[in-house]
Amino acid sequence: MRYDDPDLRERLAAEYVLGTMPRRSRRRFERLIACDPALARTVGAWADRLAEIDAATPAEEPPARVWRAVEARIAAGAASPVPAHSWLGSLAFWRGLALAAGTAAAALIIYVVALPSRTGPPVPTVVAVLADQSGDPNWIAIAGPQRGEVSVSAVRPQAEDTRHSFELWGIAGGTPHPLGLLQPQSNSAAIIRAAQLPPAGDLLAVSVEPPEGSPTGLPTGPVVSKGKVLVTPP
């Protein structure tokens, strides 16, 4: 697709705002907006043109529990603002690298991470890269945000489905133990305690489970992703 065609840019911006773009195209388009200020302005102009349609929609006071839930999620650190060079910003970078390079790059990632960083913030340690059967990485585990914690997030958004969840397992000595449910959106992370991870060299795996997680304490659905614990996080 030629994103430098002005008519096409205008049309895609309009359809993005209108909401008729399929979800996957919308995600791709959002990545374009992020690095193309002129396109972002075209989108903003469309949002403002069409916003008046909302004028006829009555405001409705939401219950207080919505704000409490927003506050709780923010306090949990699952979602912090992303100032440049923040931990999450780096996470996005590593995710991108994993996505581009595949699991074969894991050794390189460790090497790069091991280099002392002379400037800027501390670089997070990649704990594991989990890949699907064809070797495409789809989850990444990184040390942090707090000492003793590991964040596991989707390298790219995973198929969301309210009937299923993705559950993370540590497999130490061949026995799986549950580590928690993962967030399928790529902009949030599940935080687990580093102490729960199996030792370096053992496996992490993700299986598809009912919405509340496996009812048996063992994987019940297909394993869709796995990868070795590369390092024991600090």
Binding site: V43, G44, V66, W67, P81
Partner: protein
């Protein structure tokens, strides 16, 4: 609560939010949540789900506040786009739409001016420009914007091929832009 929001104030609140200012974020929520909840409710049609949409949207606002740039359009437009997309994702994850969503004729009619009436000055530019579209293409645009209908759903409701809906929407958006920017 109903004090009018100055666009500049909202911009400022988003900027402060992007720096991690939680009280600015709380004020932003207090100023905008009711309107945005109305928009979410309109699209998903159920209060419980609209609450989820609002919650997810404001978490996204917190995360993405740094992306907002006043040069790229109004704060309200930016916030509304986040909420509408989140609501649309919710609706599309469901197997079927609730019945009430399939018959929004009355609200659609209310939004477009009949070009033959002489209320010109009282009408908003958008209403006037919507009124200049043919009835079916206008309906397609409004079903998509107001209720998050996909092209396929619009095609089913209007009993036309999807390709027809695509070209209606494409031409309608071009005409709206020409009309509004004129």
């Amino acid at each position: 609560m109903s004090r009018p929001d100055s666009p500049l104030q909202l911009q400022q609140l988003i900027r402060q939010t992007s720096q991690g200012d939680k009280s600015a974020f709380a004020t932003l929520y207090a100023r905008t949540a009711a309107k945005l909840f109305g928009v979410a409710l309109r699209i998903v049609g159920q209060r419980a789900e609209a609450e989820e949409v609002l919650q997810e949207s404001f978490v996204a606002v917190w995360q993405r506040a740094g992306d907002y740039d006043a040069a790229r359009g109004s704060a309200t437009g930016w916030l509304t786009t986040i909420v509408r997309h989140c609501a649309i994702d919710h609706v599309r994850r469901r197997a079927a739409r609730p019945e009430s969503r399939s018959a929004p004729e009355e609200s659609l009619r209310g939004l477009a001016a009949d070009p033959k009436t002489e209320r010109g000055a009282e009408l908003s530019a958008l209403q006037r420009c919507l009124g200049e579209l043919e009835e079916q293409p206008r309906r397609a645009v409004l079903l998509a914007y107001l209720y998050g209908f996909t092209r396929e759903e619009i095609a089913a409701v209007c009993a036309v091929p999807v390709g027809t809906v695509k070209s209606w929407i494409r031409r309608s958006l071009e005409r709206l832009k020409r009309c509004l920017d004129a």
